[in-house]
Amino acid sequence: MTDSLCGNLTWDSIMLVKAWKDPNVNNLITAGAAAMIPVGALMVPLLLLWTGWWRPLFRDWLASVDHKKIGVLYIALAVVMLFRGVVEGTLMRLHHATALHGGVLSPDHFNQLFTTHGTTMIFFVAMPLITGLMNVVIPLQLGARDVAYPRLNQIGFWLTASGGFLITISLLIGQFATGGWSAYPAYTGSIFSPGVGVDYWLLSVGLSGIGSTLSGVNFAVTLYKLRAPGMTFMRMPLFLWTSLCVSILLVLIMPPLTVACITLGLDRYLGFHFYTNDLGGNLMNFINLFWMFGHPEVYILALPAYGVMSEVASTFSAKRLYGYPSIVVATMCIAVLSFLVWLHHFFTMGQSALVNAVFGIATLIIAIPTGMKVYDWLATLWRGRIRFTTPMIYLCGFLVLFVIGGLTGIILANPTIDFQVHNSLFLVAHFHNVIIPGVVFGMLAGLHYWFPKVFGFRLLESWGRTTAWLWIVGFSVTFFPLYVAGLMGMRRRAVDYADPAIQPYMIVAAIGSLILCLAFLALLGTILRSILLRKQLAVPLGDPWDARTLEWATPCPPPEYNFAVLPEVTARDAFWEAKENGTAYAPVEKYEDIHLPPPTYYGLWIGAFASVLGFAVVWHIGWLSLLGLLGSIAVPIAYALLPYREIILPAAEVQKQDEAWRCAARETDGVTRDEEAHATNRGLAKPDELEIEFAAAER
């Protein structure tokens, strides 16, 4: 530790300076990417000042405790980080296309790429995506006004964002870790990785992990305690069931990661011997801890996607979900079993065959509930009134590709086979095959499905469908060749290869990665184009898809308090039931005052001090670490001692807003499903003859 003013930080730590002094290909690529940070840091404030948007940004968004806005912030963070992740993935695939006997990138640069790619994609893309979507949807589907702890929700977001800040700034100042997203010691210990890279990993992952724990607590309490009157557990939409399981997993399974980060940090900073090679240290302990978190993490990501797919399947085939109880039971089984399989990530560590067999069998068992779900989704589609909207295309891609990914997982669950393909590209292909069609497709389907609910207008179907197909094709072209290359013996995380037979597959994969880049651009294009056409796409009446659950029983976008009157739930598909009975838009007899939490900068302060703390600890800047730490402690104390005033929205105001919407809905003639994707769709659904026939048959 140094105690100078700037700790270990020097001018040469800044990537741009380094590239100026030593302009080779690797430094220039990194510097090019790094230059985007100062440029962005300059451009964004200027843009905000010029447009005058800074005031609404701070007042209406950054200070907001509205769950919908916090959800949108999470998703925005995820999309920004996805940009980095996709670019890094593409760079690696392009590099491998030329990497027979060595390629463009240096080994150290390549190591950084796969480490940041993995860390970014898991912790700063997938996690914020699911947290964001859960934030937006849970209270609405539940018939609640907000999550249980709105301020805690904000804090959770800003802790995640400060983790994201650290991993982003590592591009500009210093460098990131080279030990993979799982950061196994002893390589990541202070002897073999003396630089700041691993410290960046520890702090960004650690901070966002605490944020995720807090979100888990918040969602669990929301789902337990804030269900609308009559919303029993077995009446909850399936997305809520998966969210409940995910929240419990988050609460119980983030701690092993936190502990792994803390202990590795103690090793690196204070010379402890948890995972060192000498004095009794045992690196297997880290691997064990990491995967006790890491495996349930896979289900934390996948279960919400299953939830989204359940909603999509049922809405866009206008049928109730087939086998609801079986999917609920399957979800819970998966959640519990996920605690029992972590060892399959290190079958080759050296334990006896019995241990491997037990964990291998436990892993195989998970295929049963998952398979059950797939059959349930298929049965939901069967003989439904199917519309091939964008979410349905993602669902179809999911059903085919995810099943393939699952099957390769079953292959890997057999320890004897795993010994052959462990740490090969086969594994890389497998987990991308589960995570992209599983998690990413699910989240994108959810984005399309719920976008109108949050913003008040639909996303363009034409662009949406193109994007969906680009993701499906891009994924297949990129990752199926990796299975073959893996079976041919190509190691994962290897910078080059010596077998010319592998190169054709690498070239195909590189082409696929370019298609995935296009898919990402098309996603941005979909959103931008739809914003431009938002007047035509507006669905203010709230129900563009003729959907079944409570979130659609509100206008689009919903008011800050979600529901003027908390709904009474009498059946599983509560909104569908109300539409059938003709009570969906009926006048309300009595309105009451609504209490709302006030906007606050609590979360922003916590995030700012946490970022300062993280950065200072990475660079061993003593005084700044102390400042960050004291700030992080002082902010909660200050807010606890400050007076707290709720905003009270008077009943008359609520009544005015709500009645305007209800009257408009009653007076408008809805559209049938044939016109779902047309400009005539204002968010009010009308059953057509076919649908009435179906409904009768379903009874």
Partner: protein
Amino acid sequence: MGSELKSYLTGFALAVLLTAIPFVLVATRSDLPLGWILSLCAIAQAIVHLRYFLHLRWRGQKREDLQLVLFTVLVLFFLIGGTIWVLGDLATRM
């Protein structure tokens, strides 16, 4: 007031007893199977704390809290037990 104060004092008395037993046995280097006694006293005292200090019951609204605690204990059993099993197994093979 009476019943709750009584609950605290009962709990405190039981906790003192359950603390004293293992300390005395270890201090006097007793020949009894100490591992078992230590574990049983610890578990019993944890239950005493949960029941008399934190008022967790099967009845009423505390039920959800109790279920939560029990599920967490189950998960901890999986994770700690699994860790000891796996790393113990590894240790015997090194």
